[in-house]
């Protein structure tokens, strides 16, 4: 029988990272994710890994760039304002085609905002975030189990595509303690890292760079990256369906909001309302095809987010033209309760 654990989300994530072979963590304190660096500061010593409390998020993302260029699995975690500071580094990581795992325990904003749970960084995470024409893979856990499991996956996908992967969670997922199954790490089959820097011994020198000045080079590089993002869409889209069969209304929601939506759906079902859930697990690549297929049958959708309307744009772009897409936003503060979402779905049912 698999071992059960009772863990806090942030710890489940950190345990997953160590299990996936991450030995380099660089980070800067910011609430509500401090238990992640605190965990690594204690544990990295025990696995002969490296923990540095960097002088800023700008430094931590660039330390990752260095460790990743050396072939190591490296990660950082932060919360929204910290992610803003990391966007430069993320752009360079994407441009230089370096793997990295970056965790955003999304707090509310803009500006200093607040420390409460939010999904306000959906655009920042899924649209690249920094300068230039690039994307990062974005994984959205919805339970402590997924905080762990998707971290294992994140390191594999980062290596598979040589691209940064963002885990987009929030204070609720980070702070709740929950039962989970301690799954072993079964790595994907990954290409050899034949690009890492280690000194030009017995081979030609290698470069890790994102500067392309020669005629036509930049254009080729951009299309090469584009092709990679297309491949992500073909091979690594994930979502969960819940009670979607014979549903007349589908709620589209991710992360914490999706969990609350599940409870709201149970309440609705108890009242005889045929409501189901479509939960994107990868926010980029967005499960547009699965959602389109669903919209051939179901014509009413309600997107629920802990923001004032971001993912709803992707939902509208995905569904068939004759499907209605409604939106219910719970702006940051305290997270929504199931009863609140039940009322919201009744209005459009």
């Amino acid at each position: 029988m698999e071992k059960r654990l009772f863990l806090r989300g942030n710890h489940a994530l950190a345990i997953g990272a160590i299990k996936a072979g991450c030995r380099f963590y660089f980070g800067y304190p910011i609430t509500p994710q401090n238990d992640i660096p605190e965990f690594f500061s204690k544990q990295m010593v025990k696995v002969e890994g490296c923990f540095i409390q960097a002088e800023s998020e700008v430094a931590s993302i660039n330390m990752i760039l260095g460790a990743s260029a050396a072939g190591a699995r490296a990660m950082t975690s932060s919360s929204s304002p910290g992610l803003s500071l990391m966007q430069e580094g993320l752009s360079y990581l994407a441009g230089s085609e370096l793997p990295a795992v970056v965790v955003n325990i999304n707090r509310s904003g803009p500006g200093l905002g607040g420390i409460s749970a939010s999904q306000g960084d959906y655009f920042q995470a899924t649209r690249g975030g920094g300068h230039g024409d690039y994307r990062t893979l974005v994984l959205a856990p919805s339970s402590v189990q997924e905080m762990h499991d998707l971290t294992l996956l994140a390191f594999d996908l980062a290596d598979k595509y040589r691209n940064p992967v963002i885990i987009l969670a929030d204070a609720v997922l980070g702070q709740i303690q929950e039962t989970m199954v301690d799954r072993p790490y079964q790595p994907l089959e990954l290409p050899p890292k034949d690009w890492i820097l280690a000194g030009a011994s017995g081979r030609d020198p290698r470069l890790i760079k994102s500067l392309y000045l020669k005629e036509g080079e930049m254009e080729r590089h951009n299309w090469k990256l584009f092709e990679k993002y297309q491949r992500m869409k073909r091979e690594d889209v994930r979502h969960e369906n819940y009670l979607e069969e014979e549903a007349e209304l589908i709620i589209v929601s991710f992360g914490t909001a999706a969990r609350v939506a599940k409870s709201a759906i149970r309440l609705a079902r108890a009242e005889g309302l045929k409501v189901g859930l479509f939960r994107p697990i990868t926010l980029f690549p967005f499960p547009e095809k699965a959602l389109f297929d669903l919209s051939q049958r179901v014509k009413r959708f309600l997107t629920i987010e802990m923001n004032t309307g971001q993912m709803v744009e992707d939902v509208k772009l995905s569904v068939a033209r004759d499907a209605d897409v409604h939106f219910y936003g719970h702006a940051p503060g305290s997270p929504p309760a199931p009863e609140e979402l039940l009322n919201a779905l009744k209005k459009v049912y």
Binding site: A54, S56, N62, G66, A67, G199, A200
Partner: protein
């Protein structure tokens, strides 16, 4: 016939396209010679700053990573922590290191990271076309200080080597110039010493090289060399500001 001068092994067989009289080519050569001297080419990784320094990878025949503007010390930290038995150096200009990258350089030095920083101070932003740098001298005209740098408006030029030397984490810190054969010979030894410190796990080593930028100074190379002597060295004195003795860091 004995060959007395040749291209260092660690440089590629390509010609520099730096401006005439620019000291970057000379500094590239000094660094490559130090790498060759200790036979480090096959285990050295360079980190290029942004500015004229970014072309390090066009000329060095070694592994190179490009860092975002100012972040080379952070990138080098990641590389060196992951590969502690390799030699890692950054190559940065004054805008990169002393302006946008001030935080990274100070904290990398302060952590005593066992890596080497080559800091090229020519008192001006070269690649972007001659704007004011944090090391631009008082009275020096640039495209963004057209009336000359005024301390009321822009503050004073920063003496990086002296500042870095105050940090406990720093093991070796020196300033050299390249304007005369004698200074050049001292610079060569100093750069070599910096790499030696790293090889001996002595911790953070930092060399500031006063360099000329004839193009952006609006001078010919000879005049530019004279300016190094008459204006730069008086404000940025040469010397070794810190050198930790012993066989190991701390």
């Amino acid at each position: 016939m004995k060959q007395v001068f040749k291209r260092p092994r660690s440089l590629k067989d390509v010609s520099f396209h730096f401006c005439p009289g620019c000291h970057h080519g000379t500094i590239h050569r000094l660094v490559a010679e130090a790498i060759d001297y200790y036979d480090l080419r096959e285990r050295t990784i360079g980190v290029a700053g942004v500015g004229c320094s970014v072309f390090v990878y066009e000329y060095f025949d070694i592994d190179v990573a490009e860092a975002p503007h100012g972040r080379a010390p952070a990138v080098a930290t990641g590389l060196k922590r992951a590969l502690p038995d390799r030699i890692v150096f950054t190559y940065q200009g004054d805008g990169d290191l002393a302006s946008i990258g001030m935080s990274e350089i100070v904290h990398t030095a302060n952590r005593g990271e066992n890596l080497t920083v080559i800091f090229v101070n020519n008192t001006v932003y070269g690649m972007t076309g001659g704007q004011m740098a944090p090391t631009t001298l008082l009275g020096q005209p640039t495209t963004t200080s057209p009336y000359g740098r005024d301390f009321l408006q822009n503050g004073y030029p920063i003496r990086m080597a002296e500042m870095i030397a105050t940090l406990e984490g720093t093991s070796f810190c020196a300033r050299v110039a390249l304007n005369t054969p004698a200074n050049l010979m001292k610079a060569k030894k100093t750069v070599r010493r910096a790499f030696e410190m790293q090889m001996n796990n002595m911790g953070f080593s930092f060399v500031e090289l006063l360099a000329s930028c004839p193009t952006n100074w609006g001078m010919n190379p000879l005049k530019a060399n004279e300016r190094v002597e008459k204006e730069l060295i008086p404000y940025f004195p040469l010397g070794t500001f810190k050198e930790r003795k012993g066989t190991d860091h701390q």
